[in-house]
């Protein structure tokens, strides 16, 4: 039993964090230069390597198609997105789109206005399709794990922002983080995110190893991590007071992404319904 990332993966995490802090919105060209594009298709890396990158991208609220392109894992030089619940994230930034019937289609359609402005959701228009590689079952598993990891990144950042603020801001002559009402609520956010982090890593490992429990693992991880990210954002907004409620502060963007993640490929209850079917059959 070894539940830790390898030293190489920890190096990759450090490298990714440093790069993304300086470049939170990297282009596909930049990511190709880093050697991150196509890692799931190359035999040299596992889903656990990708997992590290996905989580780090979540932390900086990355706004491009890289994750979906990796999850789609199609051959050729196209950049792919995936149609999720009837909409295509980053439609204008990709050339092809994978649909649940495992068809690839040209990225034609119209972009719609979304609450999370960094999603670039679009609606596909009818156009020619051709069969894509792989199975939807596999794509869906990878996608659920990737969404869970992104949610962990978001939940961690939102919690960290709140901790930093609560450790500095004073009211009534005391740091607000010394008030139990604030401290305990942030403990709950921290604990929820850490618990879901364990599930997300378990899911990533299960995908990498095609473990027999993979479907339970990805359902558990996605539902729990997205809910934890929403909780962490909400507690963080509350701990920030008025400033957390502004357009200017980054928190609302984290919150909106978390809300999207919560619903993407089904809300928690839909995943738990599947888990219940599996456990109670």
């Amino acid at each position: 039993m070894d539940f830790s990332f390898s030293p190489e993966q920890e190096d990759l995490r450090r490298e990714a964090r440093a790069f993304l802090e300086a470049n939170p919105s990297p282009s596909m060209e930049q990511l190709t230069e880093l050697g991150w594009v196509g890692i799931l298709r190359s035999g040299d890396f596992s889903f656990l390597d990708a997992a590290v990158i996905f989580e780090e991208l979540g932390r900086v609220l990355y706004d491009g198609p890289y994750v979906l392109n990796e999850v789609a894992a199609q051959p050729g030089d196209d950049v792919w997105s995936i149609e999720i619940d009837g909409f295509v994230p980053h439609l204008e930034k990709v050339t092809r789109v994978l649909t649940a019937d495992m068809q690839g289609t040209g990225a034609a359609g119209e972009t719609v206005a979304t609450v999370d402005e960094s999603l670039g959701l679009g609606r596909l228009s009818a156009n020619g399709t051709e069969p894509a590689e792989g199975t939807w079952e596999d794509v869906r598993r990878r996608l659920l794990a990737a969404l869970a990891l992104e949610a962990v990144g978001i939940g961690s950042r939102a919690t960290e922002m709140a901790l930093a603020y609560a450790g500095g801001r004073e009211q009534f002559g005391r740091k607000i983080g010394s008030y139990q009402a604030i401290a305990h609520s942030l403990v709950d956010a921290y604990v929820a995110v850490e618990l879901s982090r364990s599930l997300a890593y378990w899911a990533a490992w299960s995908v990498a190893e095609q473990d027999e429990q993979v479907d339970l693992a990805v359902a558990a991880a996605k539902s729990q991590a997205a809910e934890a990210a929403v909780l962490a954002c909400e507690k963080s907004i509350q701990a920030h007071g008025g400033i957390g409620f502004t357009w200017e502060h980054p928190l609302h963007r984290y919150y909106k992404r978390a809300l999207w993640l919560e619903g993407a490929l089904g809300y928690g209850r839909e995943h738990r319904a599947q888990i219940a079917d599996s456990l109670l059959s």
């Binding site: 039993m1 070894d2 539940f3 830790s4 990332f5 390898s6 656990l48 901790l163 609560a166 450790g167 005391r174 740091k175 983080g177 010394s178 008030y179 139990q180 401290a183 305990h184 942030l186 403990v187 709950d188 921290y190 604990v191 850490e194 618990l195 879901s196 982090r197 364990s198 599930l199 890593y201 378990w202 490992w205 473990d211 693992a217 558990a220 539902s223 729990q224 209850r269 738990r272 319904a273 888990i275 219940a276 456990l279 109670l280």
Partner: protein, 384 residues
């Protein structure tokens, strides 16, 4: 990362599984029932003799000197078989580790192996009527009389005191010393003259914890742990262990409860989507706790220090257990109000649900644990 057993771990798991299959006495109390029967003592002895009771204890103290991963595997297998745990919870989990850390060679020799064999049962005398969460306010006097200590005072909520042979006792050693420097920690023979135990009936109707009255109890000098005035530090060692070695025992208890919950949901043919959602959530929460413990264990194995994420295990476990047992009652419907369960599980859930309310109070209340995580793990400013 590899979440499977190594070949060596798999072999150990197999060995434990066989041991449980061959040694679990028939009629041994159901796990969760807290009546102490001869079968439990016999089972505890077998665990001790086979080296499972003190898996991670050093060999020189009668342990197996095994890695923590073995402890985790052992507890998982106990849970899988729904086997009762060792009777000497306080000795194994608290007194033993404290004696290992602070005891003299003579004390280690005298007490440790008897804990493993369940030959001697221990209780913990920390809480007092006016000193609960605030242990440093302890007022039971432990007076240094030159050739012995003289103990006078009262402890309360002391689990197992009615069957215990020894007590780890914290009290006021030096009334003039400042807070945190005034406490003394001793081992008290529960059969000594002047020790009186009065059982207190709990919310479940069972007398599981007790008041202990000490009237002019003479305690030999050699029963001191640490130095006079060092009681606070010694007590911190005890509390660290009380909250669970990485929470594996807690996860194992929850594992049993989740198994029973799933069985109940199947037996009652639960079709209501809201109940099914909640059942699935409890299973997910268990996985989250288990994998968080593994994460903490791996950090411990690699660095010698458990990961910070494990610090909330007890907090999380207690709230999960409370939610889960209430859900089971809801699934039982009108049977929930029948103390024998009306044909379902012999009243197990009724008893467990009430008992679970103690989980957020014992071994540090949830409020105190949140304070600890906030200050020590998250680095938030102190609340006082």
């Amino acid at each position: 990362m590899d979440l499977r057993d190594t070949p060596e771990e798999a072999a150990f798991r197999q060995e434990v599984r066989e041991f449980i299959g061959q040694n679990l006495p028939d009629g041994s109390a159901r796990r969760g029932a807290r009546r102490f029967e001869d079968a439990d003592r016999e089972w505890s002895r077998r665990l001790g003799a086979a080296g499972y009771a003190g898996l991670t204890w050093p060999k020189e103290y009668g342990g197996a000197g095994a890695p923590y991963s073995h402890q985790a595997i052992f507890l998982e297998e106990l849970a899988r078989a729904e086997a009762p745990s060792h009777l000497g919870v306080i000795g194994l989990g608290m007194a033993g580790p404290t004696i290992m850390a602070w005891g003299t060679p003579e004390q280690k020799e005298r007490y440790l192996s008897k804990i493993l064999m369940a030959d001697e049962i221990w209780c913990q005398g920390f809480s007092e009527p006016d000193a609960g969460s605030d242990l440093a306010a302890s007022r039971t006097r432990i007076e240094d009389k030159g050739d012995h200590f003289l103990v006078n005072g009262q402890k309360v909520w002391s689990s197992f005191a009615h069957i215990a042979d020894f007590c780890i006792l914290v009290g006021l050693g030096d009334p003039d010393a400042p807070r945190y420097k005034n406490l003394t920690y001793v081992i008290v023979d529960m059969h000594a003259p002047g020790v009186e135990v009065r059982p207190l009936v709990q919310i479940t109707g069972q007398p599981e914890f007790n008041e202990i009255f000490f009237t002019d109890v003479k305690v030999p000098k050699e029963n001191l742990l640490g130095q006079v005035g060092e009681g606070w530090q010694v007590a911190m060692t005890t509390l660290l262990h009380e909250r669970g070695t990485l929470g594996f025992a807690l996860a194992a208890t929850l594992d049993v409860a989740v198994r029973k919950l799933l069985a109940l949901a199947k037996e009652r043919n639960v079709t209501d989507p809201i109940l099914r959602d909640r059942v699935a959530r409890e299973w997910v929460e268990l996985q989250a706790l288990k994998y968080t413990n593994y994460r903490s264990l791996t950090t411990l194995t690699k660095t010698g220090i458990p990961g910070p994420e494990g610090s909330a295990s007890k907090l999380v476990w207690s709230e999960n257990n409370q939610r889960l047992t209430k859900l089971a009652l809801e699934i039982l419907g009108s049977h929930a109000h029948l103390s024998d369960g009306g044909g379902y599980a012999d009243g197990y859930w009724q008893d467990q649900q009430l008992r679970s309310r103690g989980n957020t109070i014992e071994a540090g209340t949830s409020e105190i644990l949140r304070n600890i995580v906030a200050e020590r793990v998250l680095g938030l400013p102190r609340s006082r």
